[in-house]
């Protein structure tokens, strides 16, 4: 069973990634996250196990999936088909027989029905990552662990980071920092840059919108900053700016103040404007988007918030 530990669930490996660390990079998306932020743009990253997704626009309505599902989870419906996601989760995502799970997707030639998540070994992931080794070197890029929450699969993450470093790759991780400190600490020696999410300061608000308390997170951020003062690790704090939730100058100033006060040595603080590109993905995996119709922050708004940050002596990059 030791081998089992060294497998992880990955839902995407994206080459030509340009915004999560320096240079041209490959992002490795870990599946599964202990948080459930309402604005999450990668809802398929939240569940730890594999799950089905239906891309309706690709469906050619051949109904071959209906025939092939032994669990009766797929029904004909207009204009496409309807999935009973509860049955899928029970029988295929968490079922005992993983071999034959999701056989509906094999019958779907149009690939309208697919499985989110692939069980992979570190070698499999790195084989894909190493394909662009040549451009990492010239562009100063490398590999970025993101998700989901990479730290939610700590043994696999550590193995992957160790192997990446053995191959001389520049490594970045994006994390919610919601994890046990010793798991985080174990990874730090293998990281060049760590992006730490800080979503909200007030604890009750944090619980309301993300499902968990932020006390562990803030503790971990403080500990990481202390570590970085004596080690070669670049830290950056990131906040997704969500209209109506944390987008006032006051919200942002409070977080910037906190950084100044608690994280000596950390100067990078990046604001990421909320976007709606992930909205459509909720329906694909049979879930509902909870934020409704909020509008992304305007450029002017972002500029105003950036100004608050830079006034406090923090920089974007």
């Amino acid at each position: 069973m030791t081998d089992e530990k060294k497998k992880g669930v990955i839902f995407d490996i994206q080459r030509w990634s340009l915004h999560d660390g320096p240079g041209i990079r490959t992002n490795v998306f870990f599946k599964g996250c202990p948080l459930s932020c309402q604005w999450c743009s990668n809802p398929e990253s939240q569940e730890f196990c594999r799950e089905p997704a239906l891309f309706g626009d690709k469906c050619i309505h051949c109904l071959s999936c209906v025939e092939h599902c032994p669990h009766g989870a797929i029904h004909t419906s207009d204009p496409w088909i309807r999935l009973d996601y509860e049955i899928c989760r029970g029988r295929c995502s968490r079922g005992a027989e993983q071999e034959n799970a999701f056989c509906c997707t094999k019958a779907c030639y149009a690939q309208a029905l697919t499985v989110m998540g692939e069980v992979m070994t570190a070698d499999m992931v790195l084989e894909e990552v190493m394909r662009d080794e040549g451009i990492y070197r010239s562009s100063g890029g490398g590999v970025t662990m993101t998700g989901g929450e990479p730290l939610a699969q700590p043994e696999f993450l550590l193995e992957l980071l160790t192997a990446a470093k053995e191959r001389g790759l520049h490594t970045v991780m994006e994390s919610s920092m919601f994890a046990e400190w010793d798991k985080i600490q174990a990874c730090l020696p293998y990281l060049d840059v760590l992006f730490m999410d800080m979503k909200l300061l007030p604890e009750e608000k944090h619980v309301k919108y993300t499902g968990v308390s932020n006390q562990i997170i803030l503790d971990n951020i403080r500990r990481a900053a202390a570590y970085a003062r004596t080690h070669r690790l670049e830290l950056a704090v990131r906040t997704p700016v969500i209209p109506g939730i944390n987008d006032t100058s006051g919200d942002i100033a409070a977080m910037a103040d906190w950084i100044k006060k608690h994280l000596p040595g950390v100067e990078r603080y990046e604001l990421l404007p909320y976007h709606r590109l992930g909205r459509g993905k909720y329906r694909n995996i049979g879930r509902e988007y909870q934020l409704g119709d909020i509008v992304p922050p305007s450029k002017e708004k972002m500029k105003e918030l950036e100004a608050v940050v830079s006034k406090l002596g923090l920089r974007r990059e």
């Binding site: 994206q14 030509w16 340009l18 041209i24 149009a110 662009d132 040549g134 562009s139």
Partner: protein, 827 residues
Amino acid sequence: MSTDTIEQEPLHYQMCQKPERTERIDRLYEYVGASRVGMCMERGRIITKVYQENRALLPIQLRAVSLKEILNHMSLYILPGSLLAGNQASRPNYAPLFPEYAVDFLEEEFIGGSPYYPDERPADRIEYRRSDMPELEEIIRFWKGNTHKDRLYANLPAEAISAQDDVGAVNIVNFMHGGCGHLTPPWPWLFTHGLKEVIRLCDQHMAELEMWTVEGIEKHRFYLAAKTVCQAMIDYAHRYRDLAAELAEQEPDAKRAEELRELSRICGKVPEHPADTFHEALQFMTFVQFGIQIEDNAQGISPGRFDQVMIPYYRKDVEEGRLTRESAVELIQNFFVLLSTVERMRSWDDTAYFRGKPIFQNLTTGGIDPETGEDATNELSYIIMDCIANTRTLQPSHYVRWHKKTPEEFKLKIAETIRLGTGFPAVANDELYIPAMMNRGYSRKDASDYCIVGCAEPGVAGLRGGRTGAAWFCLAKILEVSLYNGKDPASGVTLHENQNGKDLESFESFEEVWDAFQDQMRYYAGIHAVMDNTTDRLWEEYMEEPLTSVMGCTLTVLERGKSIKRGGAKYDFTGNETIGTANTGNSLYAIKKLVFDDKMITGKQLKHALLTNFEDLTTNPTGPQIQQMCLHVPKYGNDVEEVDKIVSRVLESVCEELPKYKNTRYGRGPIGGIFQASTTTVSSNTPFGLLTGALPDGRPGGMSLSDGQSPMRGTDTKGPTAAVRSVSRCNNLILSEGSLYNLKLLPQDLSEDAGLNRLVNLSDYYFSLGGMQMQFNVVSRETLLRAQQDPAKYQNLIVRVAGYSAYFVNLEKKVQQDIIERTEERL
């Protein structure tokens, strides 16, 4: 451009970055832009008269006298404010008539309105005066039955005509309507000697001829013709000398009058005498460009390595105070605007293969010094990038040569120019082009001096004669017929049965499919050679080009006393254009995977699905299901070795087959004398797509094929790094006629300095992997969709088609769609 467009296009560089031009260039640009494409009768009128009145002359003499009469009698104009002189027809953007090549389409379209009157075409319209039609009819009557095209049809074997007109696997229509072009004159020699010296050399050679020998008689004809056209060029320049002087007299503005007097002086000097200044050299070049264009309606007549050729004049003039960087920029921009007035009339059928304005007057910038092997980037290289960014004309077209020692600063300058999104410059990799040329017999020094003389085809100034850009060779169609034992399903014609006598229903292994494809490919390569060599032979017999020869390969044609068409060039290759490479490789892989490896469907099922265009719902699996299976087999462009290797194997087989054929100049003087392959398509992937039925890669019948060596549109989903790894996996070294890869990037991926660095990194990466050529479309899908809906606001939006750039709104809808679909490599 209204401001709301610009606001909607915050990252569309062409839209939000205003060009920096002097008032003079702005006026020139607007003046030329306001003149629509039209038909000019003059050349047709003059050449008809010459042919009517000189029936005793031999073809080469007739060609020489014709050019002389045209250059002596055509209307001349000097554009308002222009510092340079030269024109091809009576108005900017007017195309001269070349009735000696073909009149059938003139009759069908101008007289008969079939399929359209040229001024009513859906795209590439040509305006003309209805009152000229009686005269045009007379011209047509004289030439009908006695044109180059008529002779070609009379000489080509029936199966070759059927291969073009019924099956649509090979096509040579482009070369039925004009000459061959695709060369660069030896500027340094011409600039330092002048045409008077060429005439003197002709006289000297003639004096040495043994006139009683056949050889002597033939050489004598050539030298006489060469002298005639050189004198005609001098006369042409002198007519501008007089015109400029006359305009100066009438000019109220003293400054402009002085400019015209200076222009008059220069036209009195070049091309007769050597050029001594930058301005003189540029005027020399302008005259020669126009002269060759007027002679034979060809494309790819290229200024070549402009920065290398002009740098001594630039430095000397700057040093001696005659020129500043600013005045050089203005002169070069003026030169660009003049070249942009050149227009080529094509039949409606032919325009489908050449949408937009692909004349291919190529400038090649940067690269290595052939003597030292060191980087040769200079001040002019940077100036040219500025001129591209700010002139924004469709002609000339531009290449840069990229190599390991290209300075980072220049790479960033190139990236900045590319980011603008005009498709210029395309990038050629010295480390591939040079060895690929050497592999076919070029010396290292000559290959190191290459420039691009077409879409992507390499030439060397003064050393390579025709003929690049030969027949179109549609691999996708060839694969299609091999699936039906040689029968073309659309026309029902079988020209050649598979050697193994099998079809998709009876193939027993993938190797049998491959063998059948190879057999058909070899068969059509043979037809290809017949078509090109027949064309060449007829050109040689009836359409020799004295000016093109003596300007294009000056020293060798003078030495040998014969034109390029008879073997006068130092290097001579016939290059092809391979179409649908990605579709062919993807389809072969899909057959291998679905029918033989995974056994998802039988060959019989696939055959039926293809013949019913994936539409039959009564089969199990249904047609649409089979199409989905086909579409989801891994595709070229995603860094999947297995399929990339098949694409590579397909290309290699063409690259190895073609050189087995010799061209009509083999053994008559030039090095080479064989066929070689390229992957340039121009826009022919659209018309060839119309002729090609459903393919095993899932592409339905009629859809545009893949362009160049690019992955099929929409099938490369893993980003640019994966795509360039696939494309570079082909063995480009044997693709000695050039490679063509269109990469579409999003403007936002190139924003800020980081974006420029990224473009440099990506190019370095591709070239380090063995990529040969790359060109870019930097424009978002949204911008193009808006341009389609609101063309008036996007009149000046330039996009890269394949090997050239065109105004997006002037393209036909199908080609627009093709460009929109071309995969956006996105985050």
